[in-house]
């Protein structure tokens, strides 16, 4: 049980190809009008100090490695919140050639916040709900559902970055990545 995380959750906000609508709403929550600092919430830009991962956007093919990497670099206990219709299901971008239809195709999501864009009130509600889930979690390691790398242990420490697999392993024969280096 992580009792204290509930009183001091730190956010990491990542834009995985959203239209910026939901990002603006998240920033509105942090600004004086909605003031989510009253719950002890701080917006850190640093995955290794964060407890809650807020993801907006449908996960574009470019963003998926980043999402997984940020996710594995967050120390447990942690929760993931998908903000906005396109983070939940792909929304207006669903089925397009360049997106992956929602955050949960790569990492486990704890709270879905619908809406295009999600209202600040909804986001606050979702974050508060996720605190209940955070309280029930412990230090046990959590893994992404796709792009999962091997667990290597070096001198008693888990190699966190190695936990994120590379896209090359996911898409054998994919042509539009082969030309990059």
């Amino acid at each position: 049980m992580s009792r204290h995380s509930v009183r001091s959750p730190w956010l990491l906000h990542f834009n995985a190809g959203s239209c910026n609508g939901c990002d603006v709403e998240i920033l509105a929550c942090l600004a004086p009008k909605y003031d989510i600092e009253r719950f002890g919430i701080v917006n850190t830009g640093n995955p290794i100090q964060a407890d809650i991962l807020l993801i907006t956007g449908p996960i574009t093919k470019r963003a998926r490695e980043r999402v997984v990497e940020l996710y594995v670099q967050m120390p447990e206990p942690k929760v993931v919140i998908a903000v906005g219709a396109c983070a939940c299901t792909g929304g207006v971008f669903r089925g397009m050639y360049n997106v992956e239809n929602g955050v949960d195709s790569f990492i486990p999501v704890d709270v879905y916040i619908p809406g295009c864009s999600a209202h600040p009130e909804q986001i606050i509600d979702g974050v508060v709900k996720s605190l209940g889930i955070l309280a029930g979690k412990n230090k046990e390691m959590e893994f992404p559902t796709q792009l999962r790398g091997p667990v290597t242990i070096d001198r008693g420490q888990v190699d966190r970055r190695g936990l994120a697999g590379s896209v090359a392993s996911l898409e054998k024969g994919c042509t539009n990545r082969g030309t990059e280096n």
Partner: protein, 282 residues
């Protein structure tokens, strides 16, 4: 301070600093007409950090953070135990340098940049602290806090310009806007703090609180031990720092040095001139 007060004060220093930090966050929120976090939020943050899973980049990196906190604590202890003020300042500088080494010891660009900025910041505020102590020495003939605290007229009245110079250096020391270049959360994500998580981030949080205690005990010297005056200084400086922090944007580090150093030197020179005129007049 007598030993019976100094010992508990040293033990309680992080708690005092934590309360100051909490109060600071609340006051800043109120100034923006927000409710703000609870007063004990820094302690909740600390407890949270202690129960997170730990990541360590390499063991020296973590050890340096620990050493940073301990040396900082020692420097505060020396201040409370009436040690030489110059020694206190050098111990404090040593603590900063340990953090800088920690910042350079990892391969993170932000961490390295934060370490460089930490050095630049210490280049800005350390001379002010040293000049302040030298001025206190010329006026009171002693480098020890006890000699200053027992004298009849407090340094705030005899060295007002030095006090203003110190005020200019305080936002640099406490990493507050407009001089929070070494932390710069939106820019370099906390600088040297970036590679610390869990317990060791907690250690750095406690060091931040100790910094508050260090700065406010330095300001206490200027009250000459008069409690009413000390309270007025504390409240005034506290509110002023919060207001400035809210109202200003971050400057670049070049600008910081260009703004603060000439201003500080002018203030110090004015104070010396005034003092020597007084001496001659007497």
């Amino acid at each position: 301070m007598s030993y019976w007060i100094a010992f508990p004060a040293i033990i309680a220093a992080p708690v005092l600093g934590g309360l100051l930090h909490g109060a600071d966050r609340v006051i800043r929120a109120r100034m923006q007409s927000r409710k703000g976090p609870p007063l004990l939020q820094p302690f909740l943050d600390l407890l949270k950090l202690l129960e997170k899973r730990q990541f360590i980049v390499h063991s020296y990196h973590a050890l340096l953070a620990l050493a940073h906190m301990i040396v900082l604590w020692v420097s505060i202890g020396m201040l409370f135990f009436n040690s030489d003020l110059l020694m206190v300042i050098y111990f404090h500088l040593l603590a900063t340098l340990l953090l800088v080494v920690a910042g350079y010891s990892v391969r993170s660009v932000f961490s390295n940049m934060g370490a460089t900025r930490e050095l630049v910041a210490s280049l800005t505020y350390e001379p002010v602290f040293v000049l302040c102590v030298i001025a206190l020495f010329t006026q009171y003939g002693t480098f020890q806090p006890a000699g200053i605290l027992t004298s009849a007229n407090p340094p705030l009245y005899t060295l007002p310009f030095i006090f203003f110079a110190l005020l200019i250096a305080l936002p640099v020391k406490l990493k507050k806007s407009p001089f929070d270049i070494s932390e710069a959360h939106q820019e370099i994500i906390g600088g040297v703090e970036i590679e610390f998580s869990g317990f060791y981030k907690g250690v750095l949080l406690v060091s931040k609180w100790l910094d508050y205690v260090y700065v406010y005990s330095f300001l206490y010297l200027f009250s000459g031990g008069q409690l009413g005056l000390a309270l007025a200084i504390f409240v005034g400086v506290f509110v002023l720092l919060a207001a400035v922090d809210n109202a200003t944007a971050r400057v670049t580090y070049g600008e910081m040095n260009r703004i603060t150093l000439p201003l500080v030197i002018i203030l110090v020179v004015i104070n010396y001139v005034v003092l020597s005129i007084q001496r001659v007049a007497i």
